[in-house]
Amino acid sequence: MGSVKIVKVHDYLWEIPKEGSMNVPGRIYADRKSIEHLREEGRSKQWDALLQVKNVARLPGIQNASLAMADIHPGYGFPIGGVGAFDVETGVVTMAGVGFDINCGVRTMIVDVPRSDIERRKEDLADALFRSVPAGLGSTGYLKLSMKEIDQVLRQGARFSLERGFGVEGDLDYIEEGGVVGGADPGCVSRHAKERQFKQVGTLGSGNHYLEVQYVDEVFDRPSAEVFGLKEDTVVVSIHTGSRALGHQIGTDYLRTLKRASEKYGISVLEAELVAAPIKSPEGEQYIAAVNSGINCAFANRQAIGGLVRNVFKEQFAIGDSGIGMLYEVGHNNLKFERHEVNGVMRKLLVLRKGATRAFGPGRREVPGRYRPVGQPVLVGGTMGTCSFVLVGTEQGMDETFGSAVHGAGRLKSRKQALRQYRGETVIRDLAGEGIIIRVHSKRGAAEEAPGAYKDVERVVAIMEGAGVNKRVVRLKPMICIKG
């Protein structure tokens, strides 16, 4: 461990040269301090994110490079912050490149209420959100679904929740893919996965999932901010969650399927979760159809929660539907068929982003028309005590990273380390002292998610901006944080 050869390309980009069985080099967006931390971590622990970048570079059909964004940390076979793009004819799909929380992502909504009004009624608003949005282990949503309805969720995505009264029609225009992906096949999702989801649509979950009320603290790129409808003190609500238990079960179920496929097709398995199948194999196609179903489930989940949040604001501040609108919604644990230029030729690729956000730059047709001149908003969650960011992709990012960005701060300390170092009550009290209201279902969760357990998100986004891959648009500071 910790013996991966790595060379500096420039101050914010490092390369693992192609050698041995690697099909492409590895490229990591990082500064020297981050690289030293990753090397040290690889030497002292079983977890070696740099080795994981190298292992992904060995997968068949990978194009250009095995990439890691600046929030890189060790994952299950594929580093968190990892991006891999695969040729659809010769490439593979791996469960590790999507993970257990399929289409986990962030929705951010803009609230047309002055920040000062929110500040005045912060406690009441926090209580109302905490009461209204189901969160934490064992929470159940307002929708109680049958097997037939779950299949509809998996095919219809956000529209399923919209048609049951959660949100407004215009929401879908500002969700990645319009809130539904094609290619979903509920028949590829197990009965157990569906049964686990009967009551979980419209629930936040626990762990690092959250709902935050935030305000724009600083504007870095005013033209882009204007296009996004953001300025100093604009209030927003961000929802971070995914496909819940259904996604977890899909991951678990397909570990075995893809393990058998790896053996069948002679794909070397370098880590247990890095099992894979050719994209154009029955097993690969089934897994992709199951993941697409999970992606739609996450869209439905965030749409339902978005509807609940909108109702709370309407009740608390006597605003109409138009008083709380969408900025954008984008996932960060996904697979997607996308068209990118490789060696001067535009090609269809399967792009896996594990803890990495799609960050399409100006001009891409997938970006909503209003945002197309500047690129899509990239929503990057920080910690409950620090800040989050809205970034935008760049043309250089399209060339270098298949249009990708960081997804968050990235953990610095394991949950176990965090529990040893922090107490939930103390974390909540300290943040209250800074004017941040925390509502949690589990105080242990607050300790695990303490701001000190994460990397400095400011440094993470500065690395990406320094590399020219993403640009900061605004920084968001938290006022209220709801956690499971």
Binding site: Q46, W47, Y76, G77, G99, F100, D101, G136, L137, G138, T140, H192, E195, R196, K199, Q200, G205, S206, G207, A245, H248, Q249, G251, T252, L255, R256, E271, A272, E273, S414, R415, K416, H441, S442, R444, G445, E448, G484
Partner: protein, 132 residues
């Protein structure tokens, strides 16, 4: 988060690994338990059996809306096709558990997993990392 269970047999080590996972999900304590259901699974190796077993418990707990607090591994056996396990899971309803519920476990993973005898030849150890 890593979990480790140990015991004088593989079955006992599995039960203890599950108990470690339950401690992440619900405050340890005395609960009036009911049967959640049975988890039967198989694996080519003992590690695969462990991961299937733990994920089976997560799955049945969600489906029955229960919080697992204890498991009884009734049988672990080996045949030409690999290992198989039968167990019975006990717990309480999530509504009843209320404020004692802690963190969701998304899945048991293969990362850092092993099932082997420890330095003490009478002690089996079962460990893995669970995704929270």
């Amino acid at each position: 988060m890593g979990i480790l269970g140990w015991g004088q047999s593989v079955a006992e080590a599995f039960e203890e690994a599950a108990a470690a996972m339950f401690d992440l999900m619900i405050e340890p304590g005395e609960y009036k338990q009911a049967v959640i259901g049975e988890v039967a699974c198989n694996g080519n190796t003992l590690v695969e059996l462990l991961i299937e077993f733990l994920n089976g418990i997560l799955s049945i707990s969600d489906r029955k809306e229960m919080a697992a607090v204890c498991v009884d591994v009734e049988r672990i056996s080996m045949s030409d096709g690999g290992w198989s396990l039968e167990s019975r899971v006990f717990g309480i309803s999530r509504a009843e558990a209320g404020g004692n519920l802690l963190t969701e476990v998304k899945a048991a993973t293969y990362y850092g997993s092993s099932v082997a005898k420890g330095t003490d030849p009478d002690r089996w150890e079962a460990k893995c990392v669970v995704d929270l």
